[in-house]
Subunit: 338 residues, 4 copies
Amino acid sequence: MIIILKKEATKANADELLGIIEAQGLKPLYMPGSERTVLGALGDERVLATLNLEAHPYVDRLLPILAPYKMVSRELQAHDTVVDVDGVPIGPGHFTVIAGPCSVESEEQIVESARRVKAAGGKILRGGAYKPRSSPYAFQGLEEEGLRLLSIAKEETGLPIVTEIIDVHDIDVVSKHADMFQVGARNMQNFRLLRELGKSRKPVFLKRGMSAGYNDLLMSAEYILSEGNPNVVLCERGVKTFITGTRNTLDLNAVPYLKSKTHLPVVVDPSHGTGIREMVLPMSKAALAAGADGLMVEMHPHPDQALSDGMQSLFPEQFEKLMEVIRRYAELEGRVLP
Amino acid sequence: MIIILKKEATKANADELLGIIEAQGLKPLYMPGSERTVLGALGDERVLATLNLEAHPYVDRLLPILAPYKMVSRELQAHDTVVDVDGVPIGPGHFTVIAGPCSVESEEQIVESARRVKAAGGKILRGGAYKPRSSPYAFQGLEEEGLRLLSIAKEETGLPIVTEIIDVHDIDVVSKHADMFQVGARNMQNFRLLRELGKSRKPVFLKRGMSAGYNDLLMSAEYILSEGNPNVVLCERGVKTFITGTRNTLDLNAVPYLKSKTHLPVVVDPSHGTGIREMVLPMSKAALAAGADGLMVEMHPHPDQALSDGMQSLFPEQFEKLMEVIRRYAELEGRVLP
Amino acid sequence: MIIILKKEATKANADELLGIIEAQGLKPLYMPGSERTVLGALGDERVLATLNLEAHPYVDRLLPILAPYKMVSRELQAHDTVVDVDGVPIGPGHFTVIAGPCSVESEEQIVESARRVKAAGGKILRGGAYKPRSSPYAFQGLEEEGLRLLSIAKEETGLPIVTEIIDVHDIDVVSKHADMFQVGARNMQNFRLLRELGKSRKPVFLKRGMSAGYNDLLMSAEYILSEGNPNVVLCERGVKTFITGTRNTLDLNAVPYLKSKTHLPVVVDPSHGTGIREMVLPMSKAALAAGADGLMVEMHPHPDQALSDGMQSLFPEQFEKLMEVIRRYAELEGRVLP
Amino acid sequence: MIIILKKEATKANADELLGIIEAQGLKPLYMPGSERTVLGALGDERVLATLNLEAHPYVDRLLPILAPYKMVSRELQAHDTVVDVDGVPIGPGHFTVIAGPCSVESEEQIVESARRVKAAGGKILRGGAYKPRSSPYAFQGLEEEGLRLLSIAKEETGLPIVTEIIDVHDIDVVSKHADMFQVGARNMQNFRLLRELGKSRKPVFLKRGMSAGYNDLLMSAEYILSEGNPNVVLCERGVKTFITGTRNTLDLNAVPYLKSKTHLPVVVDPSHGTGIREMVLPMSKAALAAGADGLMVEMHPHPDQALSDGMQSLFPEQFEKLMEVIRRYAELEGRVLP
């Protein structure tokens, strides 16, 4: 940690801080300059987080040297994590496609979806039972009944299930039906939920928040790992920017950036990342090319009758086409569609 | 609702949609143009939300005419709502200052805070017992013990209490100690929490999410009102932008904009909105001048020892100064510090 | 154009506006609703731009139906434009790599750069002679001498030259040495420069501004086409967002989005789009996969001695590797590296 | 400057960099840590800007200690600059209102505007002769004729003139008619223009770019000061964010932030900062309260007939009202409307 003092800070102020640093077992450094005095604290600067040094009246600002996360860091674990979702791997060597409708709407709809996903080569079924919707007047999901329908779809096709969990107190019921918990963008910083999911061993599919920086996302994953669950998949799904025309701005920079910092797999959701059906194919290819470990794609048997997100859902034929194209890209990258 | 069809849409496509519109009890309009066909649906277009028209393959886009919210709208209720927090009003005619530390840390700290807040003219005490922190290694709050300490501070000073609630299942315990629920920025779209708070009659202090647009915030308030609780206070606390130097970008445009659309009170939090102690005073004055109904300000008896947000917390003397200055501004606006 | 009136607008207000619309040769529409009156103006709504209808006191807002651009639109020209840069095509069927150093620094540096670019399969040489730098204390480019050195590099290698122009009054001198004018992000809305370049027939490489929306970029291209120059190449180079860690946020959504709206070629600059040397390769592949027509990449013989942008410049060996990989991706897309 | 090395950097790599730092006359510091080696360079770190240290393969990142600007800095000049615009001061002690139409449209319009501005207490007349417009089909300004009409308005009323300059080569003609050059948001980083205006002594009104950070704006001012012109007024006019509903997001944080860093005056433009006529008054008050030195406000004798920006232009009666209210706020702040 580098600590830049305010112009008016005296030698006594500096000494006080140096004492605090030393008391924490860190190596203190004193660097008086012509314009500013700069202090250093060498060692595991995370112990300084609790000291709140930036609140001192004569501290101008802190410049951290180390990343704020630990367990998710590639510095701690150099090799890539492969997450196993009921037998389906997500991680290097593979390119795993998760697909299905935005919401579970009926048995017929979800079973038909699962069949089309499986036939085309998708490996995990998605489908929302609990739907966070910005309007109280919009369809909110079938809830527990939706979970039950997902189980039926799994029985019919054998596809593992990922579905969103929006509250700590649904962990048991969701756990019974799902093979992977999905944490949605709006809950990426629901830290109590993250902690509780960290106590499970079931994989967690963690979507990036709409205005989450890279460190924010990694710190949210750190919450889960620090409780003991190493099975976390990160998902880039677009962020909120000044840009209109698309629903979100898909930040594919996130893929190589995150993969250089963490050993966790990174999956891309081009459906939310664009909001436009016709853009899902090119952005899926781009995601793979950028180094993603898989996709989460919205597909619906009848998008024009979908109760949510129909505009960005693929028709089954479009999904088949996507899988065909993706397969050729995956080969180029030496990745297997598991 | 205006519905713009794709170039390739035929008369038959248009007729199909016009039939759907009519079946919903809306007045359909057919406007064939030289370049595009445009349809209209006049009436309460919110009934169209469930129809998912934008997912139709020959619909290019929808242009809503009406706002997506209803009960929070000034069109439904022209006069301003005054929210009563255990005897303290928030709303027009008043300028209500809520103050206190970021976190409750000890009995001494919170009681001392309450005394200083009250002495200077603050009317409601804030203090966090449950703290959502981006790092799992940071102080997470005293939880239930913190709530108990807030009650002691209330007994000592008579100040009503506002404190953050982060989970539906804490409603009972928080309710016992708090006079107003605070929903933090990260929970602004925790719709289950909003719904449950809507079933209470206790006031809700709803902070704007870090990347929430105006309609997003109003729709979150709509969740609460639509369940029966009219006592909602909106809070502008800064949004996430490309700007560095300040912690957030305080969007004071939100004050007159929101007040033109809704009858709910709007309060500003200049502490989170700037992240810099020295900027709290000028931005507090600006908030009042922009038409805010009050402030939420962080003050700590010893900011340099605070366990969170010390950098943006005022020293008690600074808070006294702020109240003095604010008082003169409030007079100019014909507002009473209740 | 759809015109939504304010609640308080009367029938007389509406009639006045309908008269104005009709006087412009557009077909007026009157749609009184229960909550709002809505007017329509069918026909070429661009003639309404000059009428400033949104400034009328009883107009709430305008909803345009048509895009604000014309000549760049795919609706006007369905087939893709191929821009010819002194014999090198940019456009569909091809994947054209433009490479070279950020700045021209010396004859040796630029000639060496050109040789490495050519040897690896790059087709156009980039190099800045006029450098817009955010600090007045940073290297500002060799200016005219830099242009002369670019000509030498062209003589040595035969590579066409693209270089930035920052002022109308340099058109003649830049024109003498360059085969394509580059308009930098900071000049994307230097409309006088755009107009003057529109009077030339030399290709223009138009970089997206740091906070330019899709329509903004297309309107800037429209300035050039509307003066008679159809040879415009659009370039996505990253936009400014709240994200830190990368220099800019590369918006690859822009590629399929723009290509669905315009017939002009779209090239991606992953060097500025990431700011990190190691991210250039994955994002180059992603750009191609998303449908881009080419790349602009920074390469320097000795990036660690570069006078600008060294951090994001490739070493020549890295550029060779990139070209190798890109070639395989191009084949998959049926694109020839010309 | 703090230099953080990559994990793999050796002692020899560090020594090489330390040698470079020392050769520049800076004091080098070596801080080997358990996880990373950190170097320091104490002294005027701006000399390091030209060394491009961040491009070294074993440098992870640089953390500057000092601000990148010098002459605009309050550290160089502690007292506030007062800029004199043909007798009208802008700076502390005063609150200077600049007003007038977006564009000069006719003699009658601009003279009438000037009269209304003057009568209400405005001190400087604004009016655009050269208009950067995002559409080539929109009104582009009367250019030189517009300048001539501004001179007539000055003769009639005595109000000094500020008008936008968009090109270096208009300096002479604009200089003849204007008392202050306005640099628009789109030209904030037109560095050649800034340099040339720096060679004049005429005041420069520098508007913040739509996505300019605080340092970007200050560095653009530094361009002007470094050429010898100390008469710069900074203008906050709103930035581009994800927020819709308003034209821009007025960042009033900029006022106290900039004033803590620079001695230059800061003026706010609530017309562009909101884009909505009804929001100009509250945001003008807020600007004053936040510590601004003045306002730039759009007023038009007949906003509904304005050729540009009519929607955000005040009616003359609204401007009179604004001046009345502002006067009371100015008194509270001990500021004189000069």
